[in-house]
Amino acid sequence: MSEIWGLLLFLAALAGGGWLLGSGMARLYAGDGLPAGRRLLGRSARPQGWAAYAMAVLAFNAAGFLALYALLRLQGLLPLNPDGVAGMAPDLAFNTALSFVTNTNWQAYSGEAQLSYLAQMLGLTVQNFVSAGTGMAVGVAVIRGFTGPAGESLGNFWTDLSRSVLWVLLPLSVALALILILQGVPQTLLGAVRATTLEGAEQIIARGPAASQIAIKQLGTNGGGFFGVNSAHPFENPTILSDLVQCYAILVIPVAFCFLFGRMAGDGRQGRAIFAAMSVLFLAGLALILWQESAGNPLMALSGGNMEGKEMRFGPILSGLWAAATTAASNGSVNAMHDSFLPLSGLVMLVNMQVGEVIFGGVGSGLYGMLLYVVLAVFLAGLMVGRTPEYLGRRIEAREVVLAVLAFLSMPVGILAGGALSASIPAMAASVQEAGPHGLSEILYAYSSATGNNGSAFAGWNAATPWQTTALGLLMLFGRFAMIVPMLAIAGSLVRKTPAPATAGTFPTHGPLFVTLLVLTVAVFGALTFFPVLALGPLAEQAALAAGQSF
């Protein structure tokens, strides 16, 4: 019972923190109250239309990809490499660079073995900041399209990016890193420690500048761990407090974006409605996971819940919360092995990702993803009140619907087409470790994670083959930009329209009715698309488990 109260307290703190942060961000992106930094990068630059904004995003990310790819290939020749790590293989470097540029942080490598400190700090950590900053900038630009004054401008990408990084991500990361260091996370440039164990064997204990990278990996919904086993590693996530603080850090900016939306719309109720819809979806998933994991595996009849693949210090509740939070919020970090969760918990994690990372989702990207569902929901239900559908006074017409359908297609194409290829081509199917439905879940998890730009892995699945690194790399790219570009285009199309004043005939987009509608739209459009294949994966596994068979 105390765990439930703890969770409620956590969620209340999250809503409060998100609200505060959202208010601050509203002033930041409007250009208010920037102190000394006004002169430094924070100044408003020339406003951009949607196409110019999208081009800037693409150019910046392309440059980031090339720089990171070069750094990973050449790390063996570069300084700050005390452990003498060699350059990365081409396919793995391709996958890793794309993974970090797209805010996915899929890790087909093991950090302590395959990355130098320079690559971690100058490569991955920098991308952790700027890929998150890109998501936030696009999120703000899309919000401007929905809420701004009629015109062409969605703001300026370079201004939004630098404001996101300098005034949101950086200060929060410093604070979080300090807390983590206090909890015992290492932050050092010295190489690995060699220790002699009691049996006399030599053990190499990896360490490095971990705290700083972990701070941004959580705040920016990145998830790429400093160490291979990610947040299950005692140096990444040593205590219950560090676990809760990191969980909070994962969700707080996506939550703040809901309130930011309300602020920018000049109507807080609009933001609260989106927050409520996300919360309902999140809590439904979380409840299912917690129920499953605390009840434990029916085949084992052990007390204390399902502990397979979990850290003793976290147990089923904190592991379950972490799993729900990270899969919902597009954060690839894990503090337990998701592969070992019960089938229905796996189902929740899959659905969280497959709906397109819109349940809080990535920083910025979660909100613009949810706005895609808003467009679909408003279009369908808006007709039912006898008017051309409109959202915040702006009409949803053929152009917006075309773009919304295009953006929406990215998830089924990436996950289903990619997954089907992976299940059919023998060289790709070989990555699967387990037989039967659990094997299918592993494929689905990998492809959902890549296309949704989540980055967490189900474990027990070999991602490091050239086939998979290439296919998943391409899907991360596709999943990120096949969403960003159409959403910016929708924003660009909406911002040209003069918002009509709300009347009694206006479709109400706040309040419980709209929240229900939005939740149902996500469930029917997002989740039902994957229902058949989920039936073959986690649902079949659950049915088998009920019949006494495990995989």
Binding site: G386, T388, P437, I443, A504, P508, T529, A547
Partner: protein
């Protein structure tokens, strides 16, 4: 005045032809206009081809496959049937219109001034725009035209269903005549204003037959969404095969085809064009011609209605509202005298005084010598021997009697004038009996109507030539949201532009040439058929009955159209949930027996489950045809209330109904031994 509504074509009589048409519409060119139904037809063809060889190798499986493909074809036919039925109803209406467009010889004049005797007879088919015609009593007016000389009464019942003839004359706002109407008295010289085949009658026929039906903006957007959903479900079903193979399950192609067709939005896809055609038909039934479907849809979006006061809000004529007796005169006596003085007065004002007096119990019978109203004296009344009973304008009566009214009547007269009304005085000899208050009477029910509109979020604005004081009084009484007094055409245009700049959609109706700019500027402009050609050209809707309140009907039709589309789409999409629960366990239960748990309604066997889903999918189209043709009912209410209602009926209903329907069909199939 009596209305002769054109007889409504009974659906039953249209059905045989529509049935034939459903097969004619299997032509791929015709199908390809509707992506969802086209896809269904392609899948049906595919499963048929696959079923035939299977029949030889594995008869029981082949039979199931054939059964499924038959129902896929039936779904396509039902969709065609819906469209054909809607078109058929329009065609029946068009046929009755076409009957009035018979070939007749017409009298062509060389110029507007040419003598009637110089007319040459030519066939009406050869008429061109700009030609001058002479029509005389009994002639059919062969084309849309403008009256350039003469005045005549015209029977427009063929177009409007209104049996009382109307006056048409050159100049002014009643100068246009419509092809297909008949002149019943006098003669007119006309200038043809429409090319052959482009007359209002032709437009109306084309519109109801659906021949010129272009998709409206919302229809296009909805079609894109439906095509997108079809594509998504194609990906879902095509990729399911390799996933199933990976899982060690083999799924017959027919099952995949059944899943695909039941998931794609066939219900709304099949009914979409029927909804559109039926919407147009409802408009034509209301005697309104739309120049485009876009205008009808825009009517549903209107935020501001500009309504002319006269004829829409008030009766147009001032009417007696109350008697004000002078000192020493009883109300009854005043009413009696006023009635007697007005019995011979044929003007609407005079009649209204008689009516009011009668309502107050006066019982005067005609006596004495009637004195008709004359413009010189501005008085009317009756001479009873040597006592002259008169009623008339205040100054006229004062001059006639040479007296001043007592203080009470004087004060009332001033108050009446201030309130925007017109005071009349009644005098017997030189004695002033009292005053009559004439006022613009607001039509009964108008206030409630505007309250309805307000609930729907629509502002009403009254346009009047009255001074601001009078306008304000009537506006308050009628309950409009705003008014435009002493309105000039420029003011109307400015008002519309101001509203539009704030993102509002504006509708207005008008008839005069000076309304043309405002009609063109408004998002929805309704011209009266009696109006000038310029006004009719500028408007995007034309009301054949020339009834300004029709604007409100048009708004309702527009809303109904959108609601019908939205409701059926929601229903269609919500149906997918139940279909998943019917088909998925049937497909996978061989590989994973545990998935039988998903078969929540306990359908008898995999074959019966799939067949039931496919049959339900086809039958629901035909079951919803009446709803598509009639339109989803619309009662004025706020958007929130409408959403709650329609979401419950069509969203929740869409979730629940197929579970029940598929179960019943499954039980039926088992009972018949078909599966």
């Amino acid at each position: 005045m009596s209305r002769h509504p054109r007889p409504e074509a009974r659906l039953a009589t249209l059905a045989p032809r529509a049935l034939r048409q459903s097969f004619v519409k299997l032509d791929p060119r015709s199908l390809s206009r509707n992506p969802v139904i086209f896809t269904t037809a392609v899948v049906a063809a595919l499963t048929t081809v696959l079923a035939l060889p299977a029949l030889a190798t594995d008869p029981s499986r082949g039979l199931t496959a054939l059964h499924v493909s038959a129902w896929l074809w039936i779904a396509v036919l039902f969709a065609n049937f819906a469209e054909a039925l809607a078109e058929g109803r329009g065609r029946a209406r068009a046929d009755s219109l076409r009957a009035s467009r018979s070939e007749t010889p017409v009298k062509l004049l060389a110029s507007a001034e040419a003598a009637p005797a110089s007319a040459t007879l030519v066939p009406s088919a050869g008429l061109r725009k700009g030609q001058i015609l002479l029509v005389e009593a009994g002639d059919l007016i062969p084309a849309d035209a403008e009256v350039i000389r003469g005045v005549a009464s015209v029977d427009e019942s063929a177009i409007t269903g209104e049996s009382a003839p109307v006056i048409r004359e050159s100049g002014g706002d009643r100068s246009s005549v419509t092809g297909g109407t008949r002149i019943v008295s006098d003669s007119l010289v006309l200038r043809v204003t429409a090319e052959p085949g482009r007359s209002f009658l032709d437009r109306m026929i084309a519109l109801v037959e659906g021949a010129e039906r272009k998709k409206t903006p919302n229809e296009i957007a909805l079609n894109i969404l439906l095509a997108g959903l079809t594509l998504i479900f194609l990906i879902v079903v095509v990729t399911l095969e390799p996933f199933a193979r990976f899982s060690g399950a083999t799924i017959p192609v027919v099952f995949l085809a059944a899943l695909f067709v039941t998931l794609i939005p066939t219900t709304i896809g099949g009914l979409l064009s029927a909804i559109g055609i039926a919407g147009m038909d409802r408009l034509v039934k209301a005697n309104v011609i739309a120049k485009s479907g876009r205008a009808v849809e825009a009517a549903g979006d209107v935020d501001t209605l500009l309504l002319d006061k006269t004829g829409t809000i008030t009766f147009g004529n001032r009417m007696a509202d109350r008697f004000v007796p002078a000192e020493g005169v009883s109300l009854r006596e005043l009413a009696d005298r006023a009635m007697l003085a007005s019995l011979a007065d044929e003007t609407p004002e005079g009649k209204s005084i008689v009516e009011l007096a009668r309502a107050q119990g006066a019982t005067a019978v005609p006596e004495g010598l009637a004195v008709a109203f004359s413009a010189q004296t501005r008085l009317s009344g009756v001479d009873l021997g040597d006592v002259a009973l008169r009623k008339g304008a205040v100054d006229a009566v004062l001059r006639h009697t040479g007296r001043v009214p007592d203080a009470r009547v004087a004060a009332e007269v001033e108050a009446i004038a201030r309130s925007g009304g017109t005071p009349l005085l009644v005098a017997e000899g030189s004695r002033i009996l009292g005053a009559v208050h004439l006022k613009d009477v607001v039509k009964p029910g108008v206030r409630a109507r505007f309250a309805d509109l307000r609930r729907m979020g629509i502002r009403t604005v009254m346009i009047t030539g009255d001074n601001p004081l009078t306008a304000a009084a009537i506006a308050a009484e009628a309950g409009v949201d705003d008014f435009l007094a002493e309105a000039t055409p420029e003011m109307k245009l400015d008002y519309i532009r101001r509203e539009q700049a704030q993102g509002r959609m504006v509708a207005m109706c008008g008839d005069g040439s000076n309304d043309a700019p405002a009609l063109a500027q408004a998002d929805v402009g309704v011209a009266m058929n009696s109006g000038t050609p310029a006004a009719k050209e500028a408007a995007n809707l034309i009301d054949l009955d020339s009834d300004p309140t029709k604007l409100i009907e048009v708004v309702m039709v527009g809303k109904e159209l959108l609601i019908s589309r939205g409701a059926l789409t929601t229903f269609s999409v919500a149906n997918d949930v139940a279909k998943y629960f019917a088909i998925l366990p049937a497909m996978f239960v061989a590989a994973y027996p545990g998935l039988q748990a998903l078969n929540v309604t306990r359908l008898a066997s995999p074959e019966s489950a799939i067949l039931s889903a496919v049959i339900f999918n086809a039958l629901v189209i035909v079951a919803l045809i009446p709803l598509a043709l009639r339109g989803v009912g619309y009662a004025p209410a706020s958007a929130a209330a409408l959403l709650r209602r329609n979401l419950t009926i069509y969203g929740l209903g869409g979730l629940v109904v197929p579970f029940v329907g598929i179960k019943i069909i499954d039980m039926g199939l088992v009972a018949l031994g078909l599966a």
